[in-house]
């Protein structure tokens, strides 16, 4: 870590300088009145199919994903590949559900998922639950992006202990905060183009060059212990890893498009056609993610963890350092700089979108609803800009002073929490049969139960469920949202039996269609 890789650092700084300029210049791109929230916070809903592809790809497939998924493959093996079926099944969901959401949000000027829930069910407390869940689930996610940035900064040899070691991260953070404040969603949209191109170049180069260096795929996979190469088959007593793998994929897929940053990315599309086309185009990133997951096995076969030059970095960052170490070992310095810039810039894009999404939520669904109903467009947007700074500052403080482990644990809980908004948002797009207070009760039941189980399980994602003596371990988010749905249905029936009238629906069926 003491050894600074000057060539890599120079390439990294040049690319970072370029995207900094791009971030500020983006304010003038497809110019709009940045004093309006949908202009600052949704890019004026002006992004066509191609820009949406770059933006949402850069948004969903985050730097942390590109570090953590191969790290999981490196450490745990086959289980890490659940990311592939997960990112396959999100697209049928996107294709069927999202055009409806896009339409109704466009029609009514909704900027957040909570805006929609409030309009649909006329219950501001349910909307508040969706809002708070969104913000709380997003915060640790932003922190993890900064963790991804820390890892590559460490890989360049300019990280290290103490205040001086944290300066590069703080500097990158200031750049991020400044261009997000001034350009809004246009900044990450423009930067995502650079980031995505860099990450494709890096991944394809890695998948071609490294196996040649290591003597072919057969040799790489021969180095992986059989127990890590495949999932352990079910026994008579439990469905074991099979169920964990499948429920992780399904539960994660249900959660993904409920995250505020996913909504922000997709609602910024200029048409429902752009959303639908992207359901067929975005899987290219899933393919990329699969390739990157394989890098974990490459790193394992290359034996990077046993190399003395990486010992200090592995001690600081754990298995998250496996891919950076593999790049340093396999590539010439200038390409290491490019690859690290891809990951570093890849951290800024989602961090910017997440902070904008959280700011939109706070402004629209807390500030406006509970504190300042008469806020002008300009006041609303100014508030969102300040909140975006505050949210990022919180994430930075978290990363600097709290052990990384807590950010990971909170992000895991975030997945359990965000999926609890599934009934209100997704069922709400199709029906108003559900009572809004019943949805709130279901949300509460799922959140409390899911949190309790996750904490009891020592912050692992698995609920060790046993039914009739047969072990059915599975992803806590999926199991807890099933409880949520059951409670919602029963409570709705109870409210109906009591003759409770529902509030007025702010939408009509035609709003959901083209």
């Amino acid at each position: 870590m003491e050894h600074v890789n000057w060539i890599a650092l120079a390439v990294f700084i040049v690319l970072f300088g370029f995207i900094t300029w791009l971030g500020f210049a983006a304010a003038h791109w497809r110019r709009g009145d940045l004093d309006q929230l949908h202009e600052w916070g949704l890019g004026g809903r002006r992004f066509g199919t191609l820009i949406t592809w770059f933006l949402v790809g850069g948004d969903l497939y985050t730097a942390y994903t590109f570090i953590a998924v191969p790290a999981l493959a490196f450490g745990a093996g086959a289980l890490a590949f659940f990311a592939v079926p997960y990112t396959i099944i999100i697209y049928p969901i996107l294709f069927i559900i999202y055009p409806r959401l896009w339409n109704v949000c466009r029609k009514h000027g909704y900027v957040t998922g909570a805006d929609f829930v409030r309009g649909r069910f006329g219950n501001r407390w349910l909307a508040l639950a969706v809002t708070v869940t969104g913000i709380v689930a997003t915060m640790p996610y932003i922190a993890l992006q900064l963790v991804g940035l820390q890892v590559v900064i460490g890989g360049l040899g300019i990280g290290g202990a103490g205040w001086v070691g944290e300066l590069p991260l703080i500097f990158a953070f200031i750049i991020l905060a400044a261009f997000t404040y001034s350009s809004g969603l246009r900044a990450p949209a423009a930067i995502a183009i650079v980031k995505d191109l860099l990450i494709y170049i890096t991944a394809f180069a890695a998948v071609v060059i490294i196996p040649i260096q290591l003597g072919g795929f057969a040799k790489i996979f021969a180095a992986v212990p059989p127990a890590k190469l495949l999932l352990a088959p079910p026994s008579d007593a439990s469905w074991g890893s099979f169920g964990v793998y499948g429920t992780l994929a399904l539960g994660s897929a249900m959660a993904l498009f409920l995250y505020p940053h996913s909504m922000t990315g997709l609602l910024s599309a200029s048409s429902r056609h752009a959303v639908r086309r992207n359901a067929a185009l975005l899987p290219s990133y899933s393919f990329l993610l699969g390739l990157l997951a394989l890098l974990g096995f490459f790193a394992f076969a290359a034996g990077v963890k046993q190399m003395p030059e990486f010992a200090a970095a592995f001690a600081s960052f754990g298995n998250n350092f496996s891919v950076p170490a593999l790049f340093i070992k396999s590539f010439p310095s200038w390409f290491v700089g490019l690859a690290f810039a891809a990951i570093g810039i890849g951290a800024l894009v989602p961090a910017a979108i997440m902070s904008i999404a959280a700011a939109n939520l706070f402004t629209r669904n807390i500030y406006r609803v509970f504190f300042h109903a008469a806020a002008s467009q300009r006041q609303e947007t100014q508030m969102a800009k300040w909140v975006s700074l505050l949210v990022k500052l919180g994430a930075l403080i978290f990363v600097l002073w709290v052990p990384t482990q807590y950010a990971i644990q909170l992000q895991l809980l975030g997945g359990v929490w965000i999926v609890q908004t599934f009934p209100a948002v997704v069922f709400g797009l199709y029906t108003r049969w559900f009572n809004s207070w019943a949805l709130l009760l279901g949300w509460l039941a799922g959140t409390v139960l899911g949190t309790w189980v996750a904490v009891e399980a020592n912050f692992t994602p698995t609920w060790a469920l046993t039914i009739g003596g047969y072990g059915m371990p599975g992803y806590t988010a999926l199991y807890s949202v099933i409880v949520n749905i059951a409670v919602t249905i029963l409570a709705t029936l109870a409210f109906r039996a009591l003759g409770s009238a529902s509030a007025i629906d702010g939408t009509v069926p035609a709003d959901y269609r083209p």
């Binding site: 396959i88 294709f95 795929f217 996979f221 495949l230 793998y245 899933s286 083209p514």
Partner: protein
Amino acid sequence: MDGNEERAWSPWYLLLLIQFIPSLWVPFYNSAEPRLAGIPFFYWFQMALVLVSAAVTAVVYFATETSRNR
């Protein structure tokens, strides 16, 4: 009820939902053989499924898109 417009539901969407089965039914692909260029089945099958699913989604897109709303 929508006339010619793109519908809220179309039988083509069943083709999308079918993707869930091979993706989530783990016993189907949890094996090392047959390998492809040295890559175990578990890995190359799921990667191939990404491409097949994207192609299926594209087919459904063209089948359900109507020219009216461009």
